[in-house]
Assembly symmetry: C2
């Protein structure tokens, strides 16, 4: 809650509007930000793109990127964050796509999560191996990490 | 978790794909559904339409409906659920718009939450007065209620 508040305060100070693009976290980043009273002046919207069709239709993720790198990849995370920027009024976006488990998929291990943050100046991406913590903990750790990435970008 | 599992099982049995359209719950309904392993065969996507601009741009909520009835109204909930149906691959959608608090707004009391469930056969709407439970509890009660509405619709 206080991390979400810090993100909102930093965004408010800089006049930044935020949108989220979430796959494995399924809406929980937007949920964490909007838990804070008064978040409506910073949170524009969220895209929960759980299916590949949703990633393509809502965020313009390219089919060839999905095929070449898989849904859990920095390339897809980058396209999700970029798509959220162009399909919203937000000036900063964060995206998450990962293997929450249980078990791996796409030949990738449970706990691998890819993130991207985008604004008008560019996109940064990152992969974190949280390890096989179980679905609930991987998702919670991913929400926390996404909020820290936003905070770092806002303070840059 | 077990309520979300029940919704997923009932949807799976009937070949139903679900999308969510969330305002005051900010992604938590999608978050609850996707907490269940294997939810990806039922959950298509979620729209977190926190701002009025997002409601209009993502879900075709009409400006005149927002002006005439306010964002927290069964009319807006109905348009959100209907918009989610036409902007997704889902065959059943649920929408939520409410006053999570603290305090009232739009001359409406804290804890008033409007819901809609839509499928090819129509849209049903409902308003619940949860009362001034505080932001966290109003949101949690709204998630729970939305899941129960989906379950009821799926068992009809």
């Amino acid at each position: 809650m206080s991390l979400a508040s810090d993100v909102l305060d930093a965004a408010r100070d800089r006049g930044v509007l935020i949108a989220t693009a979430e796959s494995c976290t399924g809406g929980l980043i937007a949920g964490a930000l909007t838990e804070v009273p008064g978040s409506s002046d910073v949170v524009d919207r969220g895209f929960v793109t759980y299916s590949n069709a949703a990633k393509q239709q809502m965020l313009d993720v390219r089919p060839q990127t999905l095929v070449a790198h898989g849904a859990v990849s920095e390339q897809v995370a980058a396209e999700m964050a970029s798509g959220a920027l162009s399909h919203s009024d937000a000036t900063m976006t964060v995206s998450v796509t990962g293997i929450a488990g249980p078990g791996g998929s796409e030949h990738k291990p449970e706990g691998r999560v890819c993130f991207a943050v985008a604004n008008a100046f560019g996109i940064s991406t990152e992969t974190v191996e949280f390890g096989p913590l179980g679905r609930h903990r991987v998702r919670a750790a991913s929400v926390d990490h996404a909020l820290r990435l936003l905070l770092r970008a806002l303070r840059n």
